[in-house]
């Protein structure tokens, strides 16, 4: 029952977002709508935050709000500036979430893992920008990444973040479900062009969640976290293996390749549980 209540609302919201975006292709603020969806899911699971924020649970909502505000800006930026903006958001997340801890010493683990996030996520943005805009390549990989982030969070002693990761995966799943079914049942081209900024929104969202996981999960194994970051950039492998292939095949291969490090991350987290 708990799992249904965790997955169903964001899944329905994702399908609703697809309906709005898919049937109103002239909507110019695709990315803002998706970012608002992510924020809404976070508020449903974590509650309305206090102002000024007290704990990281409140701060994450404000960081997602920041992504909502910056989404339309990012939509119109040249690629290298989008990469810079992503890096800046991750850096802001690190300092904003951890500033209280600087007073009594921040351990090396969270600093290194957040540093890796700072390096990997903008790399993902750089390649996602160059990839085929119509394909499911990056969204499929991101779906696996968010799902595995939730499971690793659960096994690392951070249920709140686990719920958020799984709920965000459900939102992305809802957004992709109908166009994916369209591919499965015969359409050679996606029936709905996934907004070009979907990958940026979800990559940046993962960057913020990743810094939170690295900073506050009491039982996080660094190797499990590194494998999550590899999962994030796994679509690069699919893009290399299958350039210009049918979207359905690319989607499945992207999921399969992403699932390899994701499974590793989950197994390490489980053995460390």
């Amino acid at each position: 029952m708990m799992i249904v209540s965790l997955i169903l609302p964001p899944l329905c919201l994702g399908i609703g977002l697809f309906a709005v975006l898919g049937f109103s292709p002239r909507i110019s603020r695709h990315s803002t709508l998706i970012a608002i969806g992510l924020l809404l899911v976070a508020v449903i699971h974590l509650g309305l935050p206090a102002f000024p924020p007290i704990s990281s649970k409140h701060k994450i909502i404000y960081l997602l709000l920041l992504i909502c505000i910056l989404a339309p800006v990012a939509q119109n930026l040249p690629p290298y500036r989008r990469i810079l903006l992503t890096g800046l958001i991750i850096l802001t997340a690190f300092f904003f979430l951890n500033w209280r801890r600087f007073a009594f010493g921040l351990p090396l683990g969270p600093i290194l893992m957040s540093g890796l996030t700072f390096a990997i996520v903008p790399t993902g943005v750089a390649f996602a920008d160059r990839s085929d805009k119509d394909s499911f390549l990056w969204p499929a990989g991101l779906f696996v990444t968010l799902l595995s982030t939730g499971l690793v969070g659960l096994l690392s002693g951070y249920l709140g973040l686990a719920q958020l990761g799984i709920a965000h995966a459900a939102l992305l799943g809802g957004l992709l479900l109908i166009p994916f079914l369209g591919l499965v049942f015969g359409s050679r081209k996606p029936i709905f062009k996934i907004p070009t900024d979907t990958a940026w929104i979800f990559l940046t969202n993962f960057g913020v969640l990743g810094v939170m996981l690295a900073s506050f999960a009491t039982n996080l194994h660094p190797a499990a976290y590194c494998l999550l970051l590899i999962t994030l950039i796994s679509p690069l492998g699919a893009a290399y293996l299958l350039p210009m292939r049918p979207a359905l095949l690319t989607t499945l291969v992207s999921c399969a390749i992403s699932a390899i490090p994701a499974t590793g991350a989950i197994l390490i987290a489980f053995s460390h549980f």
Binding site: G47, I54, S55, S56, R100, G157, F216, N219
Partner: protein, 194 residues
Amino acid sequence: MNFLSKSALAAILISASTMATAKERYLVHEDHTWVTFSVNHAGWANARGMFRTVSGEINFDQEDVTQSSVSVILEAASLDTNSKQRDRDMAGADFLNSIEFPQITFDSTRIEKTGERTGIVYGDMSMVGVTREVALDVTWNAEFALPWDPSTIKTGFSATTQIDGTDFGINSLVDFGLGPKINVVIDLEAIRQN
């Protein structure tokens, strides 16, 4: 200044000095202090636990206890519920969030005397970054020197209270069928400072 004024001033100073010495300072004796709690676990049983690292200071005025004050600090990560995995989870971000808020503090704000050796100590309790007023029902048990060391004077208190975890924003308690009412029982010994 005439003689009468000087005498009055001297009397006030002596009185103030006497009042100051009536209030003795004590430090919490960690090895002889038990801050324990129990919380209902989904109706099955009461889960129990304690905090192993406790420090604090009491300024105790035996003549007028309402003039006393107490401040206690618990290290949130020192939680012990007889299961290492559960301790890690309870100290984690979903519950006590000891990484962001390593200490739970209580600072008294006023004291009401209710009996010969009993009183209510009101104070601000801060946990997971939220501060709420909490009232402790306190009994002063005894005070005397250690039989083997007359220079060390020890006093002892027992206290109880009930708090609601959701008042402090720990809503995960409800998700896990815990509480959210938490019964707190404190037995505390403190050593008088010279």
